[in-house]
């Protein structure tokens, strides 16, 4: 399987990449890890006449903490986030990074490419939604910062303009007494999740002050389960309220039946994943260390 022939351009800086995009026109594509784009090109679902390679841009892959928050360069691969001591302070990031596909794909695929691809089953968007992350974008006219909730527009559609690229993801550390968790249910390692749940609880004196529950792979975009969040907010987090939240999340899910399972099966998964996610998030909010891994069928 060979991709269609294309012209190859190597960007030396992020700025140059944006300039190249605007000069080469709307059919030009950026190449990051290539773990979504190269398979699509080989299958001839995509045949861009121009590729702008971002891989040779120095200093575009990093995870660092500064006064502004945790900064993750767009070209940072999933494996580097998995191993990053700076990212470890926010355990949900490790949950997500360590569960994406297999080690070979995590060694190449990037957070920027994943967000730009906006696959309905992509793992980063639901997780970053619970953290209210910001996406920094660069175009020929300059920079802008887009909240992740505005960045994901539709299935395979982001808010990026034709000549814009993602340069950085900015994440504010959640308050101390909060905890998050992300679990995906997968049939095997190198496949997307059948369903997933990202949750975050902010606790104060045993009461949930804020909750975020976002479902992955069960809608055209990540599904924010607002009623599930309301079932917890200003309540104690007990088996009963978690059950109520999980039921509300199930009702919010809008899965399509496909080779990964029927719609009903995926709704069932959502109930279980939200419940498990909440149990872990609660423990983490209390300061307990919990290792979390994805569940394989």
């Amino acid at each position: 399987m060979f991709p269609r022939a294309f012209h190859y351009h190597r960007a030396g800086s992020l700025k140059e990449a944006a300039t190249m995009l605007s000069q080469l026109g709307p059919e030009a594509k950026l190449l990051a890890g290539g773990q979504s784009l190269i398979p699509l090109m080989k299958l001839r679902f995509a045949g861009p006449p121009h590729l702008v390679d971002l891989n040779f841009i120095p200093g575009a892959a990093y995870v660092k903490q500064d006064a502004g928050g945790l900064r993750v360069g767009a070209l940072t691969c999933h494996a580097d986030i998995e191993d990053s001591p700076a990212a470890a302070a926010i355990p949900i990031l490790h949950d997500c990074a360590a569960g994406i596909a297999d080690v070979q794909i995590r060694n190449r695929g990037t957070i920027g490419g994943s967000l730009a691809e906006a696959d309905p089953s992509g793992d980063w968007a639901p997780v970053l939604l619970t953290l209210n992350a910001d996406v920094r974008c660069l175009g020929p006219k300059g920079e802008r910062t887009v909240p992740i909730s505005k960045f994901v527009v539709d299935a395979y559609t982001s808010a990026l303009g034709e000549d814009e690229l993602i340069i950085e993801v900015l994440i504010q550390a959640p308050p101390k007494s909060s905890g998050g968790a992300y679990i995906a249910f997968k049939r095997s390692a190198p496949v997307y999740a059948s369903a997933s749940a990202a949750v975050r609880l902010a606790m104060e004196d045993g009461v949930c002050r804020d909750a975020a529950i976002v479902l992955g792979a069960v809608g055209l975009t990540p599904v924010r389960a607002l009623e599930a969040e309301a079932a917890l907010r200003n309540n104690q987090v007990t088996a009963k309220t978690m059950e109520a939240a999980a039921e509300a999340a199930r009702a919010a899910a809008d899965p399509q039946p496909d080779m990964r399972g029927s719609a009903e099966y995926k709704r069932q998964l959502v109930t279980a994943l939200v419940k498990r996610g909440l149990e872990v998030a609660l423990k983490r909010a209390r300061g307990e260390k919990v290792e979390l891994s994805h569940i394989y069928a």
Binding site: A5, Q35, A79, D102, V103
Partner: protein, 166 residues
Amino acid sequence: MKKNVRIVINGAEHRAEVEPRLLLVHFLREVAGLTGTHIGCETSLCGACTVLLDGMAVKSCTVLAVQADGRSITTIEGLAASENLHPIQEAFWEEHGLQCGYCTPGMILCAHDLLQQNASPSEQEIRDGIGGNLCRCTGYQHIVNAVKAASRKMNQRQRAAARAAD
């Protein structure tokens, strides 16, 4: 438009003018003549084409040769430093970690990435570590045993080398 690339494979430099759409796996097999890297699914699912790119396991059917320009690749042919087998290769042999051998180069290089990160992985960690590599023959148990044996061998040799250096 063709592009000149320089890729170091198993320590030897290879220069060639390639089409940008050439996949790394084809560069290895057809330009460099190293056919130890196998092609299975061609869709990044099976791991047969796994090689090390600057020491990290990647699926060479999903990397363009131009992306490897200026970087180092290790294939199964270059894993052992000398005429002897690498301890992971020895362990696959001794533990019957292969039958037809089609998945084996990819399995061994993936195991190498795992053992670099985690010298003594648990059984579950081994199974997770090779999660991106399919085997039609062995049922995996012998492969898992081989990775465990390789880990023991490598740890023992490292301790012996440290003692010798003292």
